[in-house]
């Protein structure tokens, strides 16, 4: 039985701390026994009391403090308790962290990692449930990494810490409690799974060993299990095979695996939990239609949250967010356009 994703991240943090004494952790409520609001930082403050700094509730400043540490040779990890609070630090990100290296003519680097949980489905309401990574895609000079439960979470976190660029490491609240389902012998359960090369690789899944499929679904993070479930349902209910790509990195966006899959399937559906407009799917769709025009048999379709808040009541939250039915419906609707 695989470990849970939260546990995998926690273990990775311990290993990273052991390996590199330039690594520091900053954030709210980090000290043991609490170990961070989602417990991902448990045990670190006990083992490395000097390198784990529990902070005041001062997100804007914490982004700057982390940047200062990074500019002077350390490798800080900043834990932002809820991804929604990244908004408090965006001046530091947009006008500092993302620019220092370029505007100081490549003479400095800012190797910091911001770890933060995004996502909804826990009834936390409009200000604690967003998927704001979409806003970060428009900020050149940073990396945005967003592992799914099938990614090698520990390796990716270690890669982020070793990265010389500032990295947003976007976690997902529900993922923490789910098993880290790594491919074994090229399979995750029934599915064939191909992992890309290099850092922050994408994963490509197929239910029929990459025999003919009718569409590619591209997603990331917490939407992967829903997308895989939709893919399974499409097979069982409609005998429609799809390929599913789970991106590892959203910025810079490497669409290689998506383009390869689209070359096979001719159709693409993007799936994300954040709101539709200005989302990750928009950039993917814009690129894929430009780069794979002749492969596409129909327009790229997007599945995302309704443009609006994530309401608190479960029934309303469910209505606002994309679910398995929505994905299945989007694939089914492909038949009806283009081709």
């Amino acid at each position: 039985m695989s470990v849970r994703c939260g546990q995998a991240l926690n273990t990775a943090l311990h290993e990273i701390f052991e390996r590199d004494e330039r690594v520091y952790l900053l954030g709210e409520d980090l000290l043991d026994p609490y170990g961070g609001a989602f417990k991902i930082s448990k045990g670190l403050s006990t083992r490395w009391p000097d390198r784990v700094l529990t902070t005041p509730v001062s997100e804007a400043s914490l982004f700057g403090v982390s940047a200062g540490l990074a500019l002077r040779g350390y490798r800080p990890i900043l834990e932002i308790m809820f991804g929604d609070f990244v908004a408090l630090g965006l001046d530091q990100v947009v006008n500092g962290i993302a620019k220092f290296r370029a505007m100081f003519d490549d003479q400095v680097t800012v190797p910091l990692v911001v770890r933060t949980p995004m996502g909804a489905r826990r009834g936390y309401g409009p200000t604690h449930s967003q998927s704001l990574e979409k806003l970060l895609l428009g900020v050149p000079g940073i990396r945005v990494v967003a592992p799914s439960e099938c990614h090698d979470l520990g390796a990716m976190l270690a890669e982020a810490v070793a990265d010389d660029e500032p990295v947003f490491f976007v976690e997902n609240k529900l993922m923490y409690g789910r098993p880290n389902r790594r491919p074994v012998d090229g399979r995750v359960g029934e599915l064939a799974c191909v992992e890309g090369d290099g850092r922050y690789p994408a994963l490509t899944f197929s239910g029929n060993d990459f025999a003919r499929a009718e569409a590619t679904l591209v997603t990331y993070g917490g939407m992967l299990p829903l997308t895989l479930e939709a893919a399974t349902r499409l097979v069982l209910e409609q005998e429609v095979f799809t390929e599913v790509v789970a991106l590892g990195r959203l910025l810079p966006l490497d669409l290689g695996p998506v383009l390869e899959s689209v070359a096979r399937t001719g159709s693409l559906v993007t799936v994300e939990e954040g709101t539709l407009t200005g989302g990750v799917g928009a950039e993917i769709a814009a690129r894929v239609q430009a780069e794979a025009w002749s492969d596409l048999e129909r327009p790229v379709a997007r599945v995302a949250a309704r443009d609006g808040i994530v309401p608190s009541a479960r029934t309303l939250e469910d209505e606002a967010l994309p679910n398995v039915d929505d994905i299945v419906a989007a694939v089914a609707a492909l038949e009806r356009v283009g081709g």
Binding site: V57, R122, G125, P126, P311, S312, A313, T315
Partner: protein, 306 residues
Amino acid sequence: MSGPDTQAEARRLYGRMTLIRRFEETLLELFSAGKLHGTTHTCIGQEADAVGVISCLEPERDVVVSNHRCHGHYLAFTDDVDGLLREVMGRVGGVCGGKGGSQHLFAGNFYSNGVLGGTVPVAAGMALAERERGSGAVVTVFVGDGTLGQGVVYESLNIASLWDLPLLVVVEHNGYAQSTPSRLQLAGDVEARAAAFGVQTARHDTTDVLEVRAAAREAVEHVRGSGRPFFLVLDTYRFSPHSKGDDHRAPAEIAERRLRDPLTVVAGLVDDAERDEIAASVERRLSEAVEQALAAPAASLEPVAP
């Protein structure tokens, strides 16, 4: 300090505090029973702040802006048990239709938001509006000690002082931000942080609702009279966990603070019969509310017939 007026008052305030206490205990029970989803932050132990301060306000005119720990403020200001319960439970009839949930409430002159600090400039802007309108209203914003970590609080104190805004900032200083004790998040002196901006301050270490009320009355009168901001620090303690579980504070520390439970402190002014009557009526009210809420349909985007 214990004439008949004070006693009647104490009874009223005690009743309000009891309602809040039992409301929130009920929420925690519903959570444990799996009948609630989402999150909640109870103010169990801090009820004297909400009730004492808000008893000095005029709900028709004054404005309250609250934070994540807002149930007590909301009930003290509106007495709307059903609207709040259904909101937290995600049922039809919730005061924000289930959209906001526990931390994001609006009704009349009451507003809350769950992101710390950002409420203070919003309250300052409301105070500016009320000043311009000449309503004589006081805008009260409740924040916790941890929220003093947010820079926007100081930006707003500066603006409130520069512009003579009728803003009352109440700091409920319960010694913790989530799991983090004050000494790890607050350097220097809390009152001095506001005084530096030319804002009048006061600090009271009390869980006696009558003392809170007296302190708040002075503060409210100062704001209403001078049109200038006031910064009122109330030392208090929460008995309940930050949210639903995960409390690592020393049991002895909690036990010691329970000796100053606001419900016990003021209880001397309420006689046994009254206390029983209050308890009974609160239980009745809450159990009816829960029953009806559980029977109500889940919140829905479709408009509901009134």
